[in-house]
Amino acid sequence: MNKHTIKKDWIHNRAVYLMAIPIILYFLIWNYLPMVGIALAFEDYSARGGFLFSKWIGLKNFVDFFKSYYLVRLLRNTLILSVGNMIINFPAPIILALLLNELENQVFKKVIQTISYMPFFISVVVICGIIVDFFSYNGAFTILLTKLGLAENKDLMSVRSYFRPIYILSNTWQGVGYGSIIYLAALSGVDQELYEAAKIDGANRWQQTIHVTIPGIAPTIIIMLILQIGSLLSTAMEKILLLYRPLTYEVADTITTFVYRRGLIDGDFGYSTSVGLFNSFVNLLLLFIANSVSRKYSETSLF
């Protein structure tokens, strides 16, 4: 690439580069500038000193976090909520897609699909409002669980042992239908001739599913799995912030919600930035590990 081609490129594509300016600016300001702000993690931030003149304290924020009793609590809660969520809510849409695929009446299938996507479009505040109401004293689900002998009739949102199942299963309710779309798309792409061949070999429907369907959609499953593992530590804080309360912090407080509380409510910017940085770093690490493991064993990878 010499000077001449660069000049020619500029003359030809000047307008394109000018059009890119707002986009570049946006990403610089809201994505790269905050990366500079990560320096906060190494500062004893004070409002008077601001970002530039607060005291530089090196790794002290991290050391404080690793020594504090929060480390164990936050990691435990984050992992239990996200791994639990993954164990239930990763396979659920796949199973739903397989079951939907077995329906032969297309109109019925369409109706079920349309209904099952609907919860996905309801706002998290409304969902949580409904959850809080349904699990309150005399709430619809509290009564249901009481009748089944699984709970007492009281405000279950304040009972620690209910938080995790409520969080995970309400995610299932909201996401299973919508999550199945991508697998249905993958299913429609499986080569029909493979089924014919399997039938000739005498495979029944179940064997066809195991030997043709599942391998057919495996690449999609793996990509989705890598993406999920990459965000293992970033629990959806919107929902937890709405559902948890001081009584359930012990089981519900995760890294992201802790950063929100410590940083924005208590104003402890330096400390919470360091916790957030720790979180992003572990996520990135997990993503790379998942990606390379997958590349090695299944030849499917994100990058």
Binding site: M1, T5, I6, H12, N13, A15, V16, Y17, M19, A20, I23, I24, Y26, F27, I29, W30, N31, L33, P34, M35, V36, G37, I38, L40, L99, L100, E102, L103, E104, I112, I115, S116, Y117, M118, F121, I122, S123, V125, V126, C128, G129, D133, F134, N138, A140, I143, W173, I181, I182, A185, R205, T220, E238, L242, L264, T273, G276, L277, S280, L287
Partner: protein, 300 residues
Amino acid sequence: MKIKESPGRIVFRVINVLIMIFLAFACLAPLLHVLFASISDPDLLTQFSGGIILWPLYDETHPATLKGYTFVLRNNALIMGYANTFFYVISGTILSVIFCSLGGYCLSRRGTIWMKYLILIITFTMFFHGGLIPTYMVNKYLGIVNTRWVIVLMGLISVFNIIIVRTAFQAIPASLEESAQLDGAGHMTILFRITFPLAKATIAVIALFYAVGKWNEYLNAAIYLTNRKLYPLQIILREILIESSGTQDFDLATEAGNFSKYKKLLQYSTIIFATLPILCVYPFVQKYFVKGVMIGSIKG
């Protein structure tokens, strides 16, 4: 050729249909509960302890009522939240579509030297970001905390959408654009007269996703706004549904001042009132969402 089905297969199909019916019921039941409760009699509703409501609660002395909705419509905070949300959704969607198209157009230009680096710069942000507090600091230094700008600007341009638009633009035959160029059209003309109209379907999907996301979003407002006049609907909803503090905004003066009697009715009516736009539009647009997932999955 129709092969006779084995008994096992028939049993499976029956069970499968039953599972699907149960699933559909499970998806709808909570929403039906809210809908029917919102038109029930407030006294019966407060005393009710029978689980899920699948029919409005009323009897001879306690008729079903739309009273909840009349209170909702007289709640100024809610109405203002509605108006604010409309503003954020409409302005955000328009700007987002414009900038994502610009980005997608730039990145889809073949034969430019520097654009491939821009793609790297942009995709890197998908995997690593500064985090909550540094982003907050940036907005604070920009002076946009507690203004409408911050709500519109946060999440305005998403990497994912730019890549989707770029893919759609790349699918347009280069010859179309070249012939326009020969006719003397500049890049802006090509983008808005040729490329943009040809990728209409994809753009519509992106706009729809963005609009619904914006309608439902509350976290940015919770982080950046303290001025009640700027609150979007979801923050008001949080006050009414989760914190229960928002029920004070209802004008109950004429109703013998009994908050606890109306609390549930008001909450249910508020949910329906706030979700109505989504539920009304949903049946018509859901096929675009399905399409959106497909587009995303091709080149994610």
